[in-house]
Symmetry: C2
Subunit: 137 residues, 2 copies
Amino acid sequence: MKNEKITLCTEMIRHAGLKATPQRISVLKVLSELKSHPSAEMLMEELETQGHVMSVGTIYNILETFSQKGLILKLKDNQEVMRFDGNTDFHVHVYNKTNDDILDYFDSNLEVILKDYFEGNLPEGLSINRMDVSLYA
Amino acid sequence: MKNEKITLCTEMIRHAGLKATPQRISVLKVLSELKSHPSAEMLMEELETQGHVMSVGTIYNILETFSQKGLILKLKDNQEVMRFDGNTDFHVHVYNKTNDDILDYFDSNLEVILKDYFEGNLPEGLSINRMDVSLYA
DNA sequence: TTGAGTGCAAAGCGTTTGCAAAGCA
DNA sequence: TGCTTTGCAAACGCTTTGCACTCAA
């Protein structure tokens, strides 16, 4: 039922130490139902079609709070600004939050392991141009 | 020597089918020398201290061109906009450039493989909060 | 010469912020 | 009631764009 889901979301929000406002509940509910990975704008539109109108600032505020509490994932993570890398060979990036540094970690074994792995496991005819492995410290 | 490096950069730029302007040469040279992963602004400052002043628009223009030709890597890649994911369990994201879609690919084996792998291979006391594996199709 | 590339400044756009009003606990 | 959260609109900051000028080939 609808109500069960709402109760669950309310539960999760409270459990994270937050007040269960209607805005937060509907954001969490919609985001957990969606199979896609919406942007803030997409989410707002979806919420709007479901009758949950709220302001842009609130959406961003809620999403930020949720991701800090670990309720959702913020893709693109802590890289607010575009960064560039002169080395196009495969390597792992280790993002160090404390000093805003990006370390490189080279390992040709890992590339082979991953390539072999995805070779056999990816759905149908998906051809991958690039792999990106990032660690967040 | 300095000149060798400049010649090499010129070579690479021409080989990519681009005109070897002084701006492009110095950008590629500086970026390949730097061990860090500069933002556009950082790069501009570094260029400036080396006596290569150029306008912001040009920097962005050059970096975009280079990354399209595969000469450099643009971190954060084709995710221009923040996206959100209701599922915080480990899974691979497959970015599909053509339709701006993000597919999920769940595999608990992979998580174990990677965790084990990094366990023994990462430098010293780096503790990882999150791993992100992205494929670009 | 001439089409590609640069400089400059203005515009764009996703995101953040400040503050008053509202509402959960 | 008290303190968190929302709404609104303005501000922010990185990036893009338009157009005239310049220059590599």
